[in-house]
Amino acid sequence: MSELQGLGAQLSEAEQAGVEIIAISPDPNQRSQELAEGLRLGYRFVADGDLAVARRYGLVHAGGGPEGKDVPRPATVVLDKQGVVRWFSVSHNFQVRPAPGEVLRVVRSLVSEKG
């Protein structure tokens, strides 16, 4: 959860309304959704139970989880209004995420973009 706080917490309400943040994990996410709502973060938590979407994106760390289970590689992918990838970052250490300032800069420029 902690990695999700940085981004949403720094967006104004208007900016949060102008962007959709979709958090994708193999977990059912009910608790994360409640936490995010408590923190007033505009996240949609979706469950990718069998990692089908992570696999489609090439973001599976085979055998990287507890008991050798496959887990997603932590990654942030920013899409513009047309669904085109404009920026992404994949972690090489699962404790580390992109600096919120960097993601914010990209998100802000896309929110204000026409079209």
Partner: protein
């Protein structure tokens, strides 16, 4: 309290302080994105404990306990940060400048969320994460 005991206490406090700082401030990007910070702090703590052992005259056990605790933390912390948490590099299937692969996944309430529904609506940030971290 002897100098050695003071150093021993200080070294354990530095080590515990590093764990507490990292856990409590995990939501702060600077702390989260520099996990090597706790490894460095464990190294400093171990150094202080070595000094405590060197300075120990009469009562030696506090210095040895401090050295045991801090050196274990240093080994465990370094192993966690430099081995356990590594994610191997591999090519991704999407590219900057190309449409992201579409998907439909259930949200926390079981409602389907389809990426393509946002096309022409608003930018989207996809955050892939492990759930427990």
């Amino acid at each position: 309290m002897s100098t050695s005991t003071r150093l021993a206490v200080l070294s354990v406090l530095v080590a515990i302080g590093a764990v507490a700082t990292y856990v409590l401030l995990l939501g702060v990007a600077v702390v989260r994105n520099h996990p090597e910070g706790y490894v460095i702090a464990f190294g400093v703590a171990t150094g202080l404990a070595v000094l405590a052992v060197v300075r120990a005259r009469a009562r030696r056990w506090p210095a040895w306990v401090a050295l045991g605790v801090t050196s274990l933390l240093l080994i465990a912390g370094a192993w966690f940060n430099f081995v356990v948490t590594r994610v191997p590099d591999a090519p991704v299937t999407f590219k900057v400048g190309e449409p992201a692969p579409d998907f439909t996944l259930p949200d926390a309430a079981g409602r389907p969320v389809t990426l393509a529904d946002y096309r022409g609506q608003k930018p989207v940030v996809l955050v892939f994460y492990r759930g427990y971290w």
